[in-house]
């Protein structure tokens, strides 16, 4: 498939219950990002073109240092880019002022990190409530909503636990609940299973797929963990700052 500017893309994935082709949630064109200056300049992203569609779970894979996390940061609007265009739900991140982009991020995106990044002083429910508190929701309402989200990720009995009293898998579940509490349209996940053992990683990906994926939302997961490739709809492979291939993922069909 060739996009309007000629970049190579794999076919848009079929989303269950959706007859018409899915619309584009994220569109990346000619994205370039370098770090350092002068002789020490390192160009990490060398002209990335990428479309991500609503309803799909896209895996960004590739070798270490290939630019996966940098691309994810750029798509999430938390890293300034040097050149190129970046549209999320039709809004150009590159044309937004930093303040507008911050607000846009808070209203549109959810984040799941490798290291969870839970606030250690806050209970699980309070941690989940943070995106709502940032948007101005009152404490009680936000925390009540946080408790409901925790029930959805199977932690209804751990709402008042501090992060240090939760296992790694449970902490990542709290992070997933936090990422989803404000109903984001784009869920960005950076190595969500890297700090977890195999079975826990599988459970977390099941949760991201089951709870996180939705027809009006797309999920981008950066990972190098081949054991979770089966959870993606498509896989974009980055090598040396370039996308070298985008493939649909064939799932094993079990009887």
């Amino acid at each position: 498939m060739t996009t309007r500017d000629g970049s190579s893309q794999s076919p848009a994935p079929a989303v269950a219950g959706q007859e018409t082709p899915p619309s584009t949630a994220v569109q990346v064109r000619g994205l370039i990002k370098s770090f350092g200056s002068g002789e020490t300049t390192v160009t990490v992203l060398k002209g990335i073109d990428l479309d991500v569609y609503f309803g799909e779970l896209l895996l960004l894979v590739g070798e270490s240092g290939g630019g996966k996390t940098t691309l994810l940061s750029a798509i999430a609007g938390i890293l300034d880019i040097d050149a190129g265009d970046l549209d999320v739900r039709g809004a150009s991140l590159t044309k937004m002022s930093p303040g507008t982009r911050t607000r846009f991020r808070g209203q549109t995106m959810g984040f799941i990190y490798q290291q969870f990044n839970l606030l250690p002083a806050l209970t699980a429910a309070e941690n989940v409530a943070i995106p709502l508190l940032i948007q101005g929701t009152r404490n009680k309402a936000a925390i009540a909503r946080g408790r409901l989200m925790l029930e959805r990720v199977g932690l209804g009995d751990r709402t008042e636990f501090l992060p240090r009293n939760l296992s790694g898998g449970q902490q990542q579940r709290v992070a997933i609940a936090r990422a989803l509490v404000n109903e984001p349209k784009l869920l960005v996940c950076d190595e969500p299973t890297a700090a977890l053992d195999g079975p826990n990683g599988q459970k977390i990906m099941e949760l991201i797929r089951d709870v996180g994926r939705a027809p009006d939302r797309c999920v981008i997961v950066v990972t190098h963990d081949s054991r979770i490739f089966q959870f993606g709809d498509r896989m974009a492979e980055l090598t040396d700052g370039r996308i070298v291939g985008i493939h649909p993922i064939q799932r094993e069909v079990t009887a």
Partner: protein
């Protein structure tokens, strides 16, 4: 997000306590040193405040209250004749040695008051009657004299001792504020004081006066200066003159000032650095909040709330500790310690400034922080 800011602050108890300890210690250091310094300064002019009279007439070249420069005995009448003066009385003040019955000698400050009015007498009498000073050989002591001269078992009301080989009988013990030199004060009448001391050409130390009701004290003082050629001061002005002399001539000002300044700088540096480190250690958490859509303004409000919360708490604890120190060590006036509201206000303002400054440094760091830090 105030809720989150406060939970972040209080949630990590170890960090919070470290921060609170730093700030409290800084405040305590400054307030304690400042209060001791100010207590010392107040003691340096106790000879003025203990007499509680509004106007002091002195030698024109007077530097401070304890450096007596005698003036002509006729000055009392000259001051009394000045328009606007309600009354004027003589005061003798000089050093002498007292010999107790046990043979011990003690240097004392002899204070001779006007026998008719006893103007300048201490307000509070702990034992005996001050009016009995009019009896033969009668003297009164302040409580520090009792303490310095051996305690109540050695000297009390009724005790007899010698001043310059002349008999002195204690009729009263008064409560006064300790003086800078802590030399025992012996009160007697002006005429009897002159009998105790060796004969000099001039014996009048000061004239104590009061302006008539409705007559501005400043105008009356200026009139006294103009018509007598002497020095004349309100008690406050004379007190400040004495404090100024002590600061300039004793080295206390430089030594204590340096200590206070160092305490201030060190204390505030501790406070600022501790808070800054607190923010830096939470940088990743702030980065996560920024990634989730918290604006720099929101984070700035959180930082300022944290800074002022811990600052005000530290201020309260520091003041409490300093006051506790004052109550324990300066009990009964044993050590100079005087907490004054200007000092507390100054420390409060300084603390708010340092909290604001350290918060601003943290905010600048946060403003420059790329939220992408959370993905590293």
């Amino acid at each position: 997000m105030s809720y989150v800011a406060l939970r972040m602050l209080f949630g990590d108890r170890a960090k919070y306590l470290m921060l609170l300890c730093g700030l409290s210690f800084a405040v305590m250091l400054i307030v304690q040193q400042g209060s001791i310094f100010w207590g010392l300064m107040i003691w340096s002019q106790s000879s003025i405040s203990n007499l509680n009279v509004p106007i002091w007439v002195t030698d024109p070249g007077i530097a401070q209250v304890d450096e007596v420069k005698p003036i002509a005995d006729t000055t009392v009448d000259r001051v009394r004749s000045i328009p606007g003066v309600e009354w004027a009385v003589p005061l003798y003040k000089g050093l002498l040695r007292a010999r107790l019955a046990n043979g011990e000698y003690h240097q004392i400050t002899l204070t001779g008051l006007d026998s008719a009015s006893l103007i300048g007498r201490p307000a509070e009498v702990l034992a005996g009657r001050f009016e009995d000073l009019r009896q033969p050989d009668a003297v009164a002591l302040d409580q520090w004299a009792v303490e310095r001269m051996g305690g109540p078992k050695v000297i009390s009301v009724g005790t007899v001792f010698e001043l310059n080989d002349k008999l002195a009988r204690v009729v009263a013990i008064a409560k006064t504020q300790k003086t800078f030199t802590n030399i025992p004060v012996v009160y007697t009448t002006y005429e009897r004081a002159l009998r105790y001391v060796p004969r000099e050409r001039r014996t009048l130390s000061y004239v104590l006066a009061k302006a008539k009701d409705g007559a501005p004290a400043d105008e009356v003082i200026q009139r006294i200066r103009d018509q007598t050629g002497l020095g004349a001061f309100t008690a406050d002005a004379f007190g400040w003159k004495t404090i100024g002399w002590v600061l300039k001539n004793t080295g206390i000002g430089i030594n204590f000032g340096t200590t206070i300044l160092l305490g201030f700088v060190v204390g505030m540096a501790i406070a600022g650095q501790t808070f800054y480190l607190f923010t830096v250690e939470n940088l990743r958490q702030f980065g996560a909040l920024k990634a989730m859509g918290a604006s720099t303004a929101t984070l700035a409000r959180m930082i300022l709330l944290q800074a002022f919360t811990v600052g005000i708490t530290g201020y309260g604890v520091g003041i409490g500790l300093a006051t506790g120190f004052g109550l324990l060590t300066a009990r009964e006036g044993q050590l100079p310690f005087l907490e004054t509201w200007p000092l507390l206000l100054l420390v409060f303002v300084a603390l708010l400034m340092i909290c604001t400054l350290s918060a601003l440094i943290s905010i600048i760091k946060l403003a420059r922080l790329e939220p992408a830090i959370v993905f590293r």
